[in-house]
């Protein structure tokens, strides 16, 4: 993808200054998003970034495209309504782990199932950052740094890729904020994939979870081709450590809505007239 770059990532930045803390993984997602947009030569006017609420959901305002910063957990619903109504647009939904897996969990499940042709980027830092550090659905059971759950959440963390697979997502990948080039590459693939593409990003929060700097040593890039078999993918997603990056699963299936028959009758009132 480096051959024909005529656009630069900075051309896709709006100039609004991010609110994120120094060292936040979301800076690198922001860079990857703009890099992917530049790489694909995307038309800013035909691109919409949609988000919910949280640190990561601030990202659309930083990109020079159309955007919608909605309410907590509902970004996917806005994105799907927009894409169904305006199929010619490129729609990218994004948010954090609390937004997407907790308050918006139902929409995540049904977006995977519905398979509207959008991309969904979850910046997972295993914590609610904007509200100053509470446990999220992906927080380890024994993480005891929150005043809200001083002995740790005590609840098994959620496996986003496994849930996405079970719900029917046709494209599942994982990226790491420490490897923005791989992330940009995966994002470009996700945007081009015809269907619901789920990019799970391990995006560190060193403010509330400084131990996440250890991720650098743990993440490992998948060397094999993406799995196509659902059973194999289920085994992988249920048993892996969650730190394998790359395109993990891809199995294309029909998108929604199917192509509609052309409007067939402008008269709506015939059925009522006596």
């Amino acid at each position: 993808m480096n051959d024909v770059i005529t656009f630069k990532a900075k051309d896709y930045k709006s100039g609004v200054k991010p609110i994120w803390c120094p060292g936040c993984g979301h800076f690198s997602v922001f860079n990857a998003v703009t890099k992917a947009m530049a790489g694909l030569g995307m038309n800013k006017d035909d691109t919409v970034l949609v988000s919910g609420i949280g640190c990561s959901s601030r990202l659309p305002a930083y990109v020079d495209s159309y955007g919608f910063h909605g309410v907590h957990g509902r970004g996917l619903a806005i994105a799907q309504g927009l894409k169904v109504a305006r199929p010619e647009l490129t729609v990218i939904a994004m948010g954090g782990d609390g937004d997407g897996f907790s308050i918006g969990g139902n929409h995540f499940m049904h977006a995977c199932r519905r398979n509207v042709d959008i991309t969904y980027v979850v910046m997972d830092n295993e914590v609610y950052g904007m509200t100053k550090g509470q446990a999220s659905p992906t927080t380890p059971m024994d993480w005891d740094h929150s005043k809200l759950t001083p002995h740790g959440p005590g609840v098994r963390p959620f496996k986003p890729a496994a849930l996405a697979l079970a719900a029917g997502a046709p494209w599942i990948a994982r990226a790491y904020s420490g490897n923005p080039n791989q992330m940009a590459h995966l994002l470009a693939q996700a945007i081009e994939f015809p269907g619901f593409s789920f990019l799970h990003v391990l995006s560190q929060c060193i403010t509330f979870c400084p131990q996440q700097t250890d991720w650098k040593a743990i993440v490992n890039e998948r060397q094999d081709a993406a799995l196509e078999d659902e059973d194999e993918a289920a085994r992988l997603f249920l048993h892996e450590d969650g730190f394998q990056t790359g395109l993990l699963y891809q199995r294309q299936r029909p998108t929604w809505p199917p192509e509609a028959a052309p409007p067939n009758d402008p008269d709506l009132t015939g059925g009522f007239r006596l």
Partner: protein, 564 residues
């Protein structure tokens, strides 16, 4: 005069189809009337009732008592006792060997025995009792066999031919049976009329106003708005998404509207409660959506199959923060076309959500109506013509130019965070004050014209209501006029923003003001008392559902409080 006929039976026995065929047959011969559908909470095996009221006008109120009751069976009849009031001169038509409930017998009504099941079996091996009822009652109304059999064939068109043959045979069998009773029927006159329910009318109004995206989550009694629109959108183009919940439904609607496509959702009380957070988002992001709320008995699950006007509070005040938005209410079945279309157009022009308050009574009743009035008002979306585009620009009328994705050089991020004119998040005092002022101003500065209410008369006693209460209020005013009062009626179609000046003008010269509504806590009365000062003496007539408002009781109340 009017003639009221109740047909009751087990859920699934076909009493609603029976009522529909009779009303359509009656309408084909120039008659007018209303069909209310009453259901128990069970889906099958419960009870249902078709409640017909044949009239000489289109001011459709629920019947307060019934001239004829045809009971296919008496199982669970007691559940309708509140709704199907009988009199000593009522006719009861029922099977010869079935025991009539003691409460009914106590009224000493006139009884006609009809061997319904035996006639059905005799007419056809697949004969159904509801078609015997169509024949018997059709004869009572003087309807022709050709007309009723034709309507039945149309209704059963998708079923095997034997169903149509059975229906035709049963209708004939019923018409031949000599029941030896007669009733007086209302006058009929030919006219260009429709047979439509309020929920269908709302769907029609929405599509005619340009709605091309609908997000839907099923809920009684609003599902049939959405079901009708699913078919309607296939005719005119557009999309309907069945959402996973009401939170998704409202946000999908917002997403489509942000894309520049006119968008709509329909729900009932509990669904509206779930949607309110995001309706606030539509206010802040200035995204036009129409939320059509078919009210039912509340709170919580309440009485889902019965009517009430108890969502006024949540529609007006349910949003968090200072969130000015539109609230409208259709006045009757036919007006669902006009008011829904008007709401859609106002929302689009003013870039704000509109909540429309219909209810189960007008939503799920079908009526014969003169071709409904359409909303012809043209409201163009304001467009920017300069290159210095600001999505939330401060303007004199508060309305900023819109842009949708795909338009060059108009890029912005819509935001539920407070923002500056460009849309960039801002917590500054100045931006907050200016944007709050702007969002309020665009609603209050707009000229809504004369359709904010329907006004009748200029008497000293003003009867004020909103939405579907208007028919009962009109009827009460007529009763009061007969009893020596001079009255005027004001039926509000626009509830927010409240047209203070127009309302004051409409009340000028009246000395008494009776506020009529179908809820327990006098929500309209409290709203108006909080919003305006009145020169009149105020009286509140607020009665919760599920029994429909009664003109006689309203008139009686007025006589009591207005007595010198």
């Amino acid at each position: 005069m009017s003639l009221s006929i109740a047909i009751t039976g087990a859920g699934g026995a076909g009493v609603i189809s029976c009522g529909e065929l009779l009303l359509q047959g009656w309408a084909r011969e120039g008659g007018r009337g209303l069909l209310r559908k009453a259901f128990g909470p069970q889906i099958r095996g419960g009870e249902s009732a078709a409640l017909l009221k044949l009239t000489e006008h289109e001011r459709y109120t629920a019947a307060t008592s019934y001239d004829v009751l045809l009971a296919l069976d008496w199982n669970n009849f007691s559940r309708f006792e509140d709704e199907i009031r009988l009199r000593p001169d009522s006719w009861i038509i029922c099977e010869p060997d079935e025991d009539i409930p003691a409460a009914v017998l106590a009224l000493e009504p006139r009884i006609a025995r009809l061997p319904i099941a035996a006639l059905a079996a005799q007419a056809h091996s697949d004969g159904r009792v509801n078609m015997i009822a169509v024949g018997v009652l059709g004869k009572l109304l003087g309807l022709s066999h050709t007309s009723l059999a034709g309507l039945a064939a149309q209704k059963l068109g998708h079923k095997p031919a034997s169903y149509q043959q059975a229906a035709t045979a049963c209708i004939a069998e019923g018409q031949q049976y000599d029941l030896e009773i007669t009733v007086d029927t209302p006058r009929r006159e030919a006219g260009n009329r429709w047979y439509i329910s309020g929920n269908q009318a709302a769907g029609l109004g929405a599509l005619e106003a340009g709605v091309r995206f609908v997000a839907a989550y099923p809920i009684t009694p609003a599902s049939d708005v959405l079901e009708w629109m699913a078919g309607g959108l296939e005719k005119v183009g557009g999309n309907l998404v069945q959402a996973e919940d009401e939170l998704a439904a409202i946000n999908m609607t917002i997403g489509a509207a942000f894309g520049g496509v006119t968008a709509f959702t329909a729900t009932s009380g509990p669904g509206l409660a779930l949607m309110t957070e995001s309706i606030g988002l539509a206010v802040a992001s200035e995204t036009p959506v129409t939320v059509f709320n078919v009210q039912r008995g509340g709170p919580s699950t309440g009485i889902p199959t019965k009517s009430e006007q108890s969502d006024l509070d949540i529609a007006l005040h349910g949003l968090h923060g200072d969130a000015p938005h539109l609230v409208l209410a259709p006045l009757n079945i036919a007006d669902c076309v006009y008011t829904t279309a008007w709401a859609v157009k106002l929302a689009r022009h003013l870039q704000t959500p509109a909540i429309v308050l219909s209810d189960q009574f007008i939503g799920q009743s079908s009526a014969i109506v003169t071709e409904p009035r359409r909303c012809e008002v043209q409201l163009a979306a304001k467009r920017a013509d300069d290159n210095d585009y600001l999505r939330y620009r401060l303007t004199e009328d508060g309305v900023s130019a819109v842009a949708a994705p795909g338009e060059p050089d108009r890029r912005f991020t819509a935001d539920g965070l407070e923002h500056n004119e460009k849309g960039t998040p801002s917590a500054s005092n100045a931006d907050h004050q200016r944007q709050l002022d702007k969002r309020a101003r665009k609603l209050t500065a707009f000229d809504y014209g004369s359709d904010w209410a329907d006004l009748n008369g200029n008497g000293e006693v003003a009867l004020l209501c909103f939405g579907s209460a208007s028919a009962a209020v009109e009827e009460a005013a007529a009763l009061l006029a007969q009893r020596g009062f001079t009255t005027r009626t004001i039926a509000l179609r626009l509830l927010a923003p409240l047209p203070h000046d127009a309302l004051h003008a409409a009340l000028e010269g009246s000395s008494e003001l009776v506020i009529v509504e179908q809820n327990h806590s006098a929500q309209l009365w409290r709203y108006l008392r909080g919003a305006m000062d009145f020169a009149q003496r105020l009286h509140s007539y607020a009665i919760a559902g599920p029994v429909p408002l009664s003109a006689e009781l309203i008139a009686h109340y007025c006589e009591e409080v207005l007595a010198p």
